[in-house]
Amino acid sequence: MKFRSLLLCAALVLASLSTFAADKVLYLYNWSEYLPESVIEGFEKETGIKVVYATFDSNEAMYAKLRLVDAKNSYDLVVPSTYYVSKMRKEGLLAPIDKHKLVGFDKLDPKLLNRFFDPGNEYSVPYLWGSTGIAINTDEVKPGSITRWVDLWRPEFKDRLLLTNDMREVFHVGLRVLGYSGNSTDPKQIEAAYKKLTTLVPNVRVYDSEAPRMPYLEGETDAGMIWNGEAFQAHGENPAIEYIYPEEGAALWMDSLVIPKRARNVENAYRFINYVLRPDVGKAISEEIGYATPNMGSLALLDVSLRNNRTVYPNSMDLKNTEFQIDVGDAVKVYEKYWELLKAGRD
């Protein structure tokens, strides 16, 4: 008798576990520090769906992980950058988005929809967009003394710079300094950028794509690359840290919500997308992490001071010479080769 009740208990636990797994979970895979805790809590409270949240610090790592997990362990919602949306779309890793299930898709900025990486937004819903530019600590560096990427090469910055730990962004800097496009697919240009970047390495103190604001706040770096949202957050903690749109052009990027083909909780993924599409939620996200929302409904709700904050919402002058990152096709192998050489090289 005892044994049987034990068995019953085990069966109950198993049953509850499996329904838990089937209905009430959302496996969300996002960039680190890219979604306020409060938004997850709000979603969980409202829907009763538990969010299992995992983070990555590079598109490459996210892609490798997604390729690796099987159907039983897959994620339900992922947030890749444009050039990985197109790559994953071409490779059949994504499930098409059923627009009928979306509420608020029509409020998204048409300028950010139907782009080259996903015509018709068949597979992706824009989440946030931003730029990779320069940060300086004005306590250590004279304001106005840095206006271009090439200024980072100055010998006074020996061991004082931060670069993001991101292949495409770092090469964007090398390529733009030489006057090439940050999306170049010409192996000669990429090699030239690599050679140029090797002369920047002595100035590099740290590569960081997890939370690039931290070395500036810790006092470890005086200048270097940063994402605008991280600069926005850093400025909030230490007003001496300022964001600069370099004259050669910042790198622009956009990250989108996509549903992997192997997702197990597709309906929950849609519910989360709809939650994020709500104007008040989009507003909360943009306010807290400092990237620009593609949602015009959220934009209308924003406080004027944030709406006019050029770090988060650049004006047309700031956007001069900027480029949106796009898929470079097979040239990515050339980038990878030189990226590895750049990082493994000793000085």
């Binding site: 490798a64 730990n165 810790e218 990878e336 590895e340 493994a344």
Partner: protein
Amino acid sequence: MKTRTPFKTAVLTVTWGWMIIFVLLPNLLVFSSSFLQRDELEFVRLPVTLENYTRLLDPLYGGVMLHSLWMAAVTTVVCLLLGYPFAFAVSRFPARLKPLLIFLVIVPFWTNSLVRTYAMKLLLSTNGIVNDLLITIGLIDEPLRMLYTEGAVIAGLVYILLPFMILPLYAVFEQLRRDLLEASYDLGAGRWETFVRVVLPLTLPGVIAGCLLVMLPAMGMFFTADVLGGAKNLLVGNIIKNQFLDARDWPFGAAASLMLTIVMALLLLAYYRSVKLIRRRGNDVALA
């Protein structure tokens, strides 16, 4: 003696099963991938090639390997210099205090080493606790630049690996017979001579075991180098991690990790040989 109890069979099955599933199979997978080619979609594909190994011979990777060995060696020496006197001192404490002291050495293991590495960051950063303290007591005016240097990585490695040096050393010091030391003094040897000719040879197996336990992981602990060294690829472990996670070149990553395994195997072989040598010498001395 050949009777097999069910218990014995069960234990053997579990042990062997464990070793085969979690040690042998993964290593076989790594071994076989290292001879394959990179594939964009499935990670690896045929045909068999030696290309990954020839790539390892590139001076670039040789440089990383040597640098990694150097960092690991410095870590080991520092651990030895700290651990040896410590283990000796603990072995001299009253018997009832010893378990407590060794327990204190083990306590940090209860916290994940990644968390402890991030804690080191708080200590070492320019606006961090150590600099604040030194400036407050007036020892320095300008903060020291400690974080994101090789020194910071070595400090992190020492912090995490020190117990692996202390524990084997403590074990040999516990077995060190006090009467041998007294005999040495009685026969006219001074402190220094007793240390060099009696204590050191008797504790050498512990020294070598501790050095191996520190040196081998020190080459692979990529997260310490990432967090405290600024992701500048200081260790072989970083190269391997990048191949698997970022570059998606599994065959090359597998080849690199196999090379690391071979280096470790050679070091273990050297250990085995040296212990044998020490034993034989010990016997010779005893016979003479």
